[in-house]
Every structure is written in structure tokens, then in C-alpha cells.
Symmetry: D2
Subunit: 347 residues, 4 copies
């Protein structure tokens, strides 16, 4: 039985990983780490888990912790991850990190957007970007996987097929995306209080959100040119779910939606978690929330010559927790879909 | 492999049963029946199931249908169930019915509250009330199980221990309960539209809700006296979840909360899905939604001499769909908890 | 023009008072006090008021402040009010206080439930409980009015007519009430964050909520006997609104709903803000949110001999802010309904 | 006193107009027309208005109706308006129509997008597009005003200053906009039911929404060139509110946000309802819901050379009902801001 440790376990991403792994009989969550709740049972913080997962939270001491598991998933703030993970790696543990610390190939890009100095740059070259649809083989052999951001997963999966096939320009990519509130984490800030958030919609991080360079890095690698995107995130009054509306300039303005859609179907033909919707259907977050699926629609706006792609996923699912579990399945040699084919609750 | 048919499958209860059963390898959903959507794939109505459960819906023809499964779960309107189930029973099928048709021992009570004439009264004596905590052994051998209502499940489980132990009076029982909107079913009525329902709270069915006599029947059987309850249901602006606040007159006003709580702990000591909360904790719907659990707190109001019980469950879980699956597990000889120990999503 | 000062202005009650008063031409909000936001324009905290009410918040220095207005509404935490108000009163200002500090006639009851020592007990006898339906004439001449709590307003108005007319017993009163989240104030606690609150329903303060003795005080005064109530508050996933479901034992079990309803109609026949609903209608929070109205329905449960009263109001309206404005209108000699006949937004 | 008739009064736009006008003493709502609810008091459909506006709804008979008011606001489905309004105009009434019927200068554009034949094309040239910020003087003298669509109001006001000043290209305009559910009207369709809508986010009308040509018409008139826009609407789980995120190509990529913002400040310097937010602030729907304000932020994305404009309004406010009242104020010679400077409720 694989022993899994979760560090930063009491945040929403950590708790979702617990929810996904707790019922499995091939993985044991052998240690859950949370400085804020050390000494308290996990189910006291998440009462939905009472009687299901009552393990006591431990403090974050890398030395003590690293013996307690074979694999670790770290859900820590950026900057903190880079101080903890080196010790785990040295001790021979495999790590999936959910922060931004190991997502960037160019440390300067990271340092510019995150406004910190990277404390473990030597690990960057060993890290694999944990998007199985692009890097499945590398994930299999990786010792350190950087779990992608939610907006990047949603955006990259929506753009990759068109860019790879050259049916759209690599310039003038406009992404407008929306997240549920859990994307901000388990926070007690006033601006995320119910009264301030409910029934409210807003944009944020206009022209400066940190997921922008992450999207650009991967798109640039796909098409071999430096890609700059216009990315605007928004906050919608819902707990979970993410949807991106992507406007791309068609290379050939006479391309039909069916032709474009077949490019996507082909690109993802072996992917278990990407669903290209039939013509006339559009993605909606409730069809993917609670699951590892991403739903994508492909439409052509003949009047403007644009390809309009909509992609939806769960920011706590394919956008973070379940994608980490997918990577874990790959790294550990399990069936990649193990424990992940369960549908979300719809309601 | 057990073959299960779901009749009335495209309602919310039916869809939740599909969600729970689809990932299992010991049960095959061999037929899904929906007159409204006959000929259309199930995943077209519930896109969360796309690629997971795409079976085509069939029309409701009992003769054709009954050969296609060994067990049936019927999620039909009351009155309709009673016209369909006799044929299934005759053909040797086992049935779990989610309507009110077979929940009452006294057909007159049913007819008075439901304002219809029962068309299959001969089956009533063979039906077992499907609350495993009260009738586990009878369910095991039953050919027809009446899946309890959501309010009755929530109320009866909250009152049974106190009444059975005689620590409260059987008179002056006051139940105030709240349901999420899915309790009304998958409906296109204006009063359940988003704009009319969101951010709104109201009572309904004051002094005349049909779940009242169902609660009274079971409580009367527990204490051996005719019990009359005051029951007021309410609608809260949320999709799923139910919470009951129950005021009971303590027989001995000096009883402490700890003493009362120990009565509950003892009563449910072998129950896998009933969680008696520790002192100081109160149930909340988000801890049970998406699961088969019911959370119960027991408090004493010394000033009024009342026992205050709060019980929470998921109206689409322990209040209907997953409770039906629990009964199915029992009837089919599976482990009763099979597929039901998965925690709900919390968020 | 009357000069009004609002102390504790940036909480939700204060902001609602600003919203109600800002458009009026007979009252000038001459000073807004908020220690947390001193020096910042009010509309920076509440951007809905940008261009409408941009006055800068001031610090809470009673001496400086008291010259700046004729009337003050204080929306401060309990305990704090009692330390500030004496100076305002000494300086000849009239005060409407929204804390619990001056609602109780018996200081011991206050101190027992609020767990503090009252620092200005000498003012208690001069304070008038600010429920116009009960104390209109006393409010008119008062120098210090205690704005009632939201649950007490909702409960007392729902019970007063029946108790005053003697058609129900003063014993065995059971109140189950539900509030929107704004009732907790403008708070950055995790338990009121969107993700923890949305789609969740729970009870809280079981058998120990501080509004209990306030309800009991006023009901006791109405019927001339010591009244003890069972009161259970709940939190619903909505911003505003409150609904109480009240179970009362009918003195004469043969009384009809129509007879009971006529008692209520008669009791409130001259009240501009109490609406007794027609038979068959039940109150809902969306009909009162954003307004000073309270909607009440009266039903009889013949089976249990109980009178079931439902009353709904806006916890930020008749439950606090607009009720304070109603008292201000009375104290200042304005038409009592001035600025308060505007309907809420319904949606 | 001006007599106002509202036709199609029981929809959400009509009800909001009633809410805005009912408290005024310079306008009497002399007749409310609703075929669905003829003979029933308006406050039965909208119980928030009980005791405030109880007038009985009348059937839609243009001949009978037209005598009963001086001005009419029609909130009817497109196509229906064009059959009713001619008679009102003939009888000398002034009309503000909220359908799409009279918004287009070119009847062919209307007929192509709305898929109907216009039955009163002769009135088109007499209709004025009711956006006061663009057509205040024409509205003053108009007999027929076409109340603009919500998305067009939000988009045009967000783009007009930049396009008029020539600081952005008229090509490659990308608008991603989000509406609350009330934008769909008062509907009992399943897809707008609470359970299907709550906690869900989706795009709709991709590349074919009818508000597209309305936006294009007005932008083309502003810049004197034919403008084609990419417009994608979305539905967010909230009752009211609209936000547009607009990406425009800067003519001069070195322009700063401050320079662009000053263009907007100048353009709207005399507008009472347009608020250009200070640098660093972004609009949010809760700041405008319930009001006639539109909040606009102007940012520059230096990396892409784009101007990012965010504009927010209330789809039932400046996007429909209160904008109609603004037009009415202008047409009737009242102060344009009469009854419209009230802030929204924020919560």
C-alpha cells in the first residue's frame, strides 16, 4: 500500500485530496500536516469526514514527516513550498507540489511575477509540469511534479489543440475566465465573506494575474513561438467551478466549427478526462464540479473570423486536487483513472 | 452481477441513484426508464455523466421493463407507483419504491392525506418501511420496500432514541424542519425558479404536510401510543440538505444533556451512518450533503425542561437516494455500507 | 434640518441607515464615526454610495463628536455602547442605541446573559424599548431608545396579539427562527466566509441565545406573567431576511384560523408596517427584505390545538436599521413612515 | 400629475418600474397591464408591494388602455411590442418600449437577428435609442423611445469614450459579459430553476446573441465605420447584475492607464449616473444593483497593448427599468435624476 503524506492538508485543495483518497484501498494517507490545526483531528475541521478520516494533524517538520510517507502532495503557499520540498526530495520522497514554485522553467519569470527570490532554483530543471495531457510520460518518471494552476489548466487545455494544429494565430489570444470562490483558498478575509461575495460578480487581477505567465509558457512551448495572452480572471458567487471563454484568431477564416471541432476530438482522442462536447452544447460548471473532467466546446464566429472555445472544470478538481491525484496515479504506476471516474454531484 | 432498473430515473432522486451506482462493479444499471426522455441518452439530461453513464432512457412499459432487471427502484409520483409496482412484483422482481404509496400501514391514513384512492392496497401488508435503523431485518427479506420520506427520516431518527427510552413525553412534539430546493423535485414551476427562490426563506405546508402522518406512524409504533406531532417544513435557498430542530418535553426535567446524549449513543451504537455529535457541536447540512450520513446533536434547555435535538441529512442522500441504495445493499446481501462510505464534497 | 450622527457607521446596520437617510432632505447625516475606517470616505467602504454619500469617517471621540449632531444612532458592540452613550446624553443629545445594553429593564438579566458588568446602569430606567407597535408614545418623548433585536422584533410582533388577547397560553411557547448571514455583522471570520456558509443550513445558540431574555421580557410585560420561551435560531445561506415559526398552545382548541387572524388584524389595525397576510398566504423573506415591513400569517393546527404564526422581516430593516429610523421619525416629530414606505427590491 | 401606464407590468422589468415609480408623488401609475394576471392585484404577484401598490392588472386592449395614461412603458416580448405600440402612438401617447423592436435603424438587421418580420417599420425612423448619455436631446423630444438592451448599455458605455476619442481601434473588439438570471425574465423554464442554475456558470448564445448587432450599430455610429464585435454572454448564479470585460486594441501602445482614464472622465464629466472608478478600483455588481448607476474601470495591459475596460450595471436598473425611468424623466421634463439617486442595497 502506497503511503501518502499531505502537507498543507487543511486547505480546500488538501481536504479535497483527502476526500478522493480516503475511500481507496491502494493508498493510505499516512500523515496529514497542518501547522494551524496540529494536534486536532482532521474531521474536526471537516466534519463531513467524521468517522471516515479522523487522523490527527501534525506540525510541519520536514525531517520528522519525511519518514512517514513515500509520496507527498504539498498544498502550501508559494515560497513556502520551495523551502520544504528540497528536504523531502533529498530523503528520497516523491513530491507533487501545488504551489507556483516549480511550474516555471525560467526562474526569472517566476521571480518577476511572484515577487520573491526562489530558494531552491536547483530543483527547477528536475520538476515536471503536471498536466498529463501534455506531459504524461515525463510525469511517470518524475520525482517532483508541479501541479498546474486552475486557470492555466482550463486555458491551456482549451487552446492547445488549435495552436498545435496551427489553425489559429499565436497572437491576439484573449482569455476571459471565471472562478468559484474556493479558488481563493480557505480564507477568513472580509472580501470573501458570504455577505460581501454572494450575489456579486467582479473582475480582479486585471492585466497582472500570476497565472498569465504560466499559460504563456506552455502555449509558447506548444507552438514554438513566444506567446503573450490577454487574461482576465473573474470571481462568481459560487463555491467551485471554473469556465474560460477563449477568443482565438482563425488562420483560415473559412474554417467551419465542425472542422475545428474535429481537430480537438483528434487531439484528445485518448484522453480519459477531456470531453469535447457535441455541436450545440456548451460547457457548464455544474457538469464538472466534483470531478476530474474538463468539458470543452468549439465554435466559430464567422463574422469576426474567431474561434470561440469554452472550457469548464472544477478548480478543486482538474484544476488542483484531482489533477494531483491523476499525477499520483501515473507516478505510482496505478491506473491513471483510479478513483477519478466518479461523476460529480451535478446538484 | 445484480441487474438494477431505475424507473423515473431522470428526476433528481433517480439521477443521484445513478451517480451512486454507476461506479460500482457489483451492480449493473441495466435499464433506466423515463417517459419524458425516452430515446435520449441519460447523459444528455445529466451532462455530468457524459462518458460515464450514457445508456438510453426507455419508456415506462412494465411488461417489457420487468424482464430487464432483478431489482427495481421506482422514483415515481405517488399514485403512479401503485399502478406500476404490482406487475413488477407479480413478475418476481424486488422493488424499492420512493413514493408515499407503500409507506403507510393504514390505507385510510394514506388516502386521507394524499387525497387519492390506493389502487394496490393488497400490497401494503407486504411492504416494509425502508429505514434500516428500525427495520433492518425485515428489509433483508422484503420483496417491496417503501423508501422513507426525507422529513420522516430526519425526524424519526432524531426522536426515536428518546421516545424508545421513555426520556421524553410522547405529547407536545414540535418539529421545525428545513429542506433544500431539490426536495421539490426536478420542476419547471415559477415558484422554484432561481430568481424566485434564491435569497428567500419561507415556511410551507403549515399544518398539512404529507410527511406528518408518516412521522406519526413510526413514532407511535416506537412508543406504543398514538403520537401527534406539530410539523412545519421550510424551504431554504440551497440545492440540497435538510435540518430538523425538534423540541421534546423531558420526562425528568433534571436530566442532563450528557445523560440524554448517552441514550442516543447507545441506541445507535452499531449504526454505520448515524453520527451523534460531541457536546458543543451542532449539525450542519454541508457535513452530510452528498453522503448517506445523518448528524444528530442532543441538547437540554434547562429553563424550559425541553430536549432540543437537531438532525441533519441530505434530502437526496439519506433522505432518499442513498437510503434506497442502503436498502438495496441489505436486500441483495451486499455489505450494507457498500458504495456509501464516501464523504460528501463539503464545499 | 435635523443633524444625525451615526456611530459604528461602517457595519451593516450603520450602512443601511446611511442608505435610508442619505436621499432625505429633512435629515443631514452630519457625522459618521468608525474607528476602523477613520479618515476614509464612507463610499470607499460601501462603493454603492460613491457620489451619493462620500463623507469621511471620523474616530470615536464622544466629546468631539457630540457637538456635531442633534441625534445619534449608535451601532456598537454591547458593552461599548454603555461607555459612550452617557456622555452623549449628558451633552443633551438624543440617542437610539442598537446594542443590547439598554434593552433590559433588569440589569441582572442583562449581565447574566451578556456576561459583562453594565457600566451605565443609571440610564436603564430612562431607556425606552424601541418597538413602536408597543411603545410609540414613550418613544416620542424618550432621550434614549434601545433599538430592539431582530429576533425579538420578529418574535414579539408575532406573539403579542395572541398573548394580549389571551387566546394562547403563556406557557410552552416554541420559537424556531432563521436569519440571513448579515445578522452576524460585517465580519471576516472563517465561519462566515462564502465557501463555509453558502449552501449550508445550521442551528446555533441552542438554548442560550441572548435574544431569548429580550423576547421573554416583553412577552411577560404583555401578559403580566413570567414567560419562558424555547427559542432556537438558525443560519440560512442568504444575506438578509428573517423568519420565525412560532408554535403556541391555543386556550380554546376549537378556535378557527379566521378567528385568530381577526385578533391579529384588530391588534395591528393602525400599524403602517405590519401586514397580516390573507388566509392561504405565508410570509417569505423576499417580500420584506429591503423594507421596514413585517409580514405575519396566522394558522391553526386543529390536530395539535396549536396556533402556528409565521412572521418575516428584514434583519437589517425592521429588525434593526429601518426600525431605528422609524423611532427617529417618531422622536423627531416627523411622519413616522417618512422614507420607509419604499418597497424592497423583491429580487 | 403625469399618468403612466405599464404594459407587460408583471415581468421583472415592469415590476422594477413599479417599485421605482410607486413612491413618487409626481407620477401616478394609472394602469398596469398583464394578460397573464388580469383581474388580480399587482401585489398578489409581487407581495413586497402589498399595501404599497395594490392596483388590479388589466388585459392588454390597446384601445381601452390608451386613454388611461399619458405615457406608456411597454415591457413586452419583441414582435408583440410592434403590434401594440402603433395604436398608442396614433392616440397621441408617448411610449418607451423595452423590446428590441425599435432599437434598430435598419429593419433588415432586426429581421435577420430576431427572425421575424417587423410589423410597424414605419415607426422605426421616429424611434430614438434611449441611451441618455448618447441621445439625451433627442429623447427629450421623442414620441417613441427604444429602451436599450442591458448588454448593449453595459458595452456601449464602456467603449464609447475610447472609440469616440480614437484611442482604440474599431477592429478586434472583444466583449465578454456576464448577467444575473433575471436577465432571462420571469420564466418557469427548467433551465432557470434554482437547482439547475444555482452554483453554476455557463456561456450561452455564443456568436449569435441578439444584442450583438445592437452594440455594433451604436459603436459604428460613434466612430463612423462599420464595427463588428466578438460578443460572448454568460450566466452567473445571481439574481441581478451585469459586468462586461472589454478588450480593445490601443491605437498608441504607449498610452498609460491614466491617460486613457482621463478620456473617460472627460467624456462622462456631466453624466449623473456614470462613475469612472479611481485607479486600482474595479467595478463589482453589488455596487450598482438596485440603482441606475454604471461603474467603469479603465486599465492598460502594457504587455498586449490592450485597453481593458470593465463596466458594471444592474440589468434591471440601468440595463432596463431605471434607464426607462431616466428616459421618462427626460421626456416629461422632470429632473433627469428624479427618484434615481437612491443607492442600491449593497447587500
Amino acid at each position: 500500500m502506497l503511503r501518502l503524506g499531505i502537507i498543507g492538508a487543511t486547505g480546500y485543495v488538501g481536504a479535497e485530496i483527502v476526500r478522493l483518497i480516503a475511500p481507496r484501498d491502494d493508498i493510505e494517507i499516512s500523515v496529514v500536516v497542518s501547522n494551524s490545526f496540529a494536534g486536532r483531528p482532521f474531521s474536526e475541521i471537516y466534519p463531513s469526514l467524521r468517522g471516515i478520516f479522523d487522523k490527527t494533524c501534525e506540525s510541519l517538520d520536514p525531517e520528522t514527516i519525511s519518514d512517514k510517507a513515500d509520496f507527498f502532495i504539498t498544498a502550501l503557499p508559494h515560497g513556502v513550498s520551495a523551502t520544504i520540498i528540497p528536504r523531502l526530495i533529498e530523503n528520497g520522497r516523491k513530491v507533487i507540489d501545488h504551489s507556483g514554485d516549480f511550474r516555471f522553467r525560467d526562474v526569472k519569470v517566476y521571480e518577476e511575477w511572484y515577487k520573491v527570490t526562489h530558494t531552491a532554483p536547483e530543483l527547477i530543471s528536475r520538476a515536471v509540469y503536471g498536466l498529463p495531457e501534455l506531459y504524461r510520460d515525463k510525469i511517470r518518471d518524475a520525482g517532483l511534479v508541479a501541479d498546474p494552476g486552475c486557470y492555466p489548466t482550463c486555458s491551456i487545455l482549451g487552446i492547445a489543440p488549435a495552436l498545435a494544429a496551427g489553425i489559429v494565430s499565436s497572437r491576439n489570444i484573449v482569455i476571459s475566465a471565471v472562478s468559484g470562490v474556493s479558488g481563493a483558498g480557505r480564507k477568513s478575509e472580509l472580501s470573501y465573506s458570504f455577505c460581501e461575495t454572494d450575489e456579486n460578480f467582479k473582475a480582479y487581477g486585471v492585466a497582472n494575474h500570476r497565472h498569465t505567465p504560466e499559460i504563456e509558457q506552455e502555449l509558447s512551448l506548444i507552438c514554438g513561438e513566444k506567446v503573450i495572452v490577454s487574461f482576465t480572471p473573474h470571481l462568481a458567487p459560487m463555491k467551485r467551478g471554473m469556465l474560460a471563454t477563449i477568443c482565438l484568431d482563425l488562420s483560415d477564416a473559412s474554417m467551419t466549427a465542425e472542422e475545428a471541432r474535429s481537430v480537438y476530438l483528434d487531439y484528445y482522442k485518448n484522453e480519459p478526462f477531456v470531453r469535447i462536447l457535441p455541436p450545440g452544447e456548451l460547457p457548464q460548471t455544474k457538469a464538472v464540479v466534483g470531478s476530474n473532467y474538463v468539458d470543452i466546446s468549439v465554435n466559430v464566429d464567422k463574422r469576426t473570423g474567431k474561434l470561440i472555445v469554452n472550457s469548464a472544470l472544477d478548480n478543486l478538481g482538474k484544476g488542483s486536487a484531482s489533477q494531483a491525484v491523476q499525477a499520483l496515479n501515473i507516478m505510482a504506476g496505478f491506473d491513471e483513472t483510479k478513483g477519478l471516474l466518479t461523476p460529480g454531484p451535478y446538484l
